[in-house]
């Protein structure tokens, strides 16, 4: 009788495993898709993906360009960081702006101060058509929101960019199916299985640099509808947006951002965590989910993320 030989190597640590899986997914995109693009906002999740892409493809160039869909209402610190990082990597960065879609008339705001996050979908679809991208790599995670818990690693979108939860491909083993017909699109999520904690631990381990607004800083804010709302925020073009409304008391407090997006719908949290190690600790002890306290756009209804995804949102 033969006896089975036990393995002499240790299983991978959780970060090594997640890293390896993400590298594998990025290489599957490169191997299966003819014209993919990596969505890069300058936020922490997409910065992790850039690091993973380095590990996946260096010493070669990335087999895809980077693209940011800019709402025009992004924090200056994040936009500057985005440009700096793309330049350091020597990779091509495409920027398409919601404001261009507004000029074309394809995005119409209900009011000038309406949050623009959901309108990114329109600009994204226009960019996909312009460049003929067959796959967009994004930093969405399944732990972010319950409409994401059933999201595929390779998520299929039809010609209108729509996500139909009932028409998704089963995903078995690590045999991902990223095939698409012309006009259709795959959204690939290499860090699907990561939690907010995993992201911060990875940032710590890999010593990744981040935009300064992720760390505790002093900022003028007002309290609006139970959330902390940053006011008088400067944009890259010199404009200053989000003035306080009449009767609101402006407070200067120490805050940081847990998630970064359109200024009008991303709220900071009170924090004195000014380095990554402190943020890891804070993440371990927080009592509020990442989007719970900070994403004003997810709170409209129980199903608002699901709704936006059906309309082509990331």
């Amino acid at each position: 009788m033969t006896t089975t030989k036990q393995l002499n190597h240790k299983p991978l640590s959780h970060l090594d495993w997640l890293e390896s899986e993400a590298i594998y997914i990025l290489r599957e995109v490169a191997g299966q898709c003819s014209n993919p693009v990596l969505l890069f906002s300058g936020g922490k999740d997409s910065l992790c993906i850039l690091r993973l892409a380095e590990k996946a493809f260096r010493p070669g160039k990335f087999p895809f360009p980077l693209m940011h869909i800019d709402t025009g209402h992004n924090y200056k610190e994040v936009i500057d960081f985005r440009d700096q990082r793309a330049a350091e990597l020597g990779e091509r960065l495409i920027v398409r702006s919601v404001e261009d879609s507004m000029q074309r008339g394809t995005v119409v705001l209900k009011s000038p101060d309406e949050p623009r996050n959901k309108h990114q979908s329109v600009t994204l679809l226009e960019a996909i058509e312009e460049f003929g991208f067959d796959c967009c790599i994004g930093g969405a995670r399944r732990d972010e929101e319950k409409a994401r818990a059933k999201e595929r690693i390779m998520s299929f979108r039809d010609e209108f960019g729509q996500w139909d939860p009932k028409n998704q491909r089963p995903e078995l083993w690590d045999l991902y199916n990223a095939r698409s017909h012309k006009g259709e699109n795959i959204r690939a999520f290499p860090i699907s299985n990561w939690t907010e904690m995993d992201v911060w631990q990875y940032i710590e381990r890999e010593k990744l640099e981040l935009p300064s607004i992720y760390f505790a800083h002093q900022r003028d804010v007002v309290m609006r509808g139970g959330a902390i709302v940053p006011i008088n925020v400067p944009l890259t073009n010199g404009e200053v947006i989000n003035p306080p409304k009449a009767g609101e008391e402006v407070i200067n407090m120490q805050v940081r951002f847990r998630t970064v997006g359109d200024i009008t719908c991303t709220a900071p949290v009170i924090s004195d965590a000014d380095d990554v190690t402190k943020i890891v600790l804070e993440t371990a002890t927080t009592t509020i989910t990442e989007r719970g306290a900070t994403r004003l756009d997810d709170q409209t209804s129980d199903a608002s993320m699901e709704q936006r995804k059906k309309e082509g949102y990331f």
Partner: protein, 434 residues
Amino acid sequence: MTKQHNDTNHNDSLLRFMTCGSVDDGKSTLIGRLLFDTKTILADTLTQISNTSKKRGMEAVDLSLLTDGLQAEREQGITIDVAYRYFSTGTRKYIIADAPGHEQYTRNMVTAASTANLAIILIDARRGVLTQTRRHTYLAHLVGIPHLVVAVNKMDLVNYDQAVYDKICADYLAFANEIGLAQSKSAEGNDISFIPMSALNGDMLVDRLDNMPWYTGETMLEKLEAAPAAHSEHEEPFRFPVQFVCRPHASDNHDLHDFRGFMGRIQSGTIAVGDAVTVLPNGYTSKVKAIQLGEDKLQSASTEQSVTLLLEDEIDTSRGDMIVKSAEVIEPVKTIEAFVCWLSETPLSPARTYIVRHTTRESKAKVGTISYKVDVNTLEQQASTDLKMNDIARISFKLAQPLMVDSYAKNRSTGAFIIIDESTNNTVGAGMIV
């Protein structure tokens, strides 16, 4: 190593497991309880589900709502898909695949099982071993989950009576023996274990509580913490499907002019610098010159690591080829025999040509013969000429391109494939090579 931070930082492994059972067995409550007791559920989520519980006229907070998914599903009051949940204990990170257990959802269970290393099979203590228990066990076994934990739930409703628990364990083992599971599992070093619990009260989940002093075995969390995490716990031949070839010659760096890196994830086994390798299907041989992971150069690498291999010789290799050790070469094949679970609403058409994706390789495939279908409830074999959604059958395929396969029982990576419908690009079947 510095240990300046919080305990949750030190997950030194990752375990993927699945839960088999219906809502009636307390599956959602079990998951909700694990998330709740490991403090994964944060205050705002709890507020949200307690509001929903009230809205639906429930008195206590319904932990099963934590796994309640999409609006589309809520409207229909059912779960139609596999959801993934995460928690971590400080020593280990867990990924739970939560699939509905109902008969119509065989395909979802197979999907969830494909990535799981452990399955919790829930039995209602009042009802004992049922048809669905047999179905769940068969499917978990078919998809090769090495560790089964049979959880006899709702012990609180049978007065925590040990006799009830013992009888269910005996019944289950008798059934497992009947389908040859107990023997074959132990031969492969795999296992079945039992636990009495009450997910509702939390008995034997994370805390022992004191209702069942007669049970001295591990709690559910202790079992999860102790289960082997590795995808495979035994030495397997080295299998490295090439995903992507890195040839940065176009860049302006002359040092890289001759760089040719074969990128992929080690599906099984280990490799070290200097090992003699063969590239299949062509059979070229060479030696491993270097192993890279990012900027790091490794002396050796093993299962589940994504690496770049550099070989001593210039060999024409592309995506879909497989690098193996020269001492462990497999013969490429153009016919395969497999158990197939059909996933699509459109039945299999024996007249059509499909695409089989195996590792990083694709081939056109035609159905040879359908030997028989398996009734997942009675496990009876039935003659059949068709295959509909949720059916499982033993089928042979003829392939246009050779594939480098192992049997699924030996290797869950190189023994697995998916079937793609070329007209829709949908994934329509899942195969496990005999």
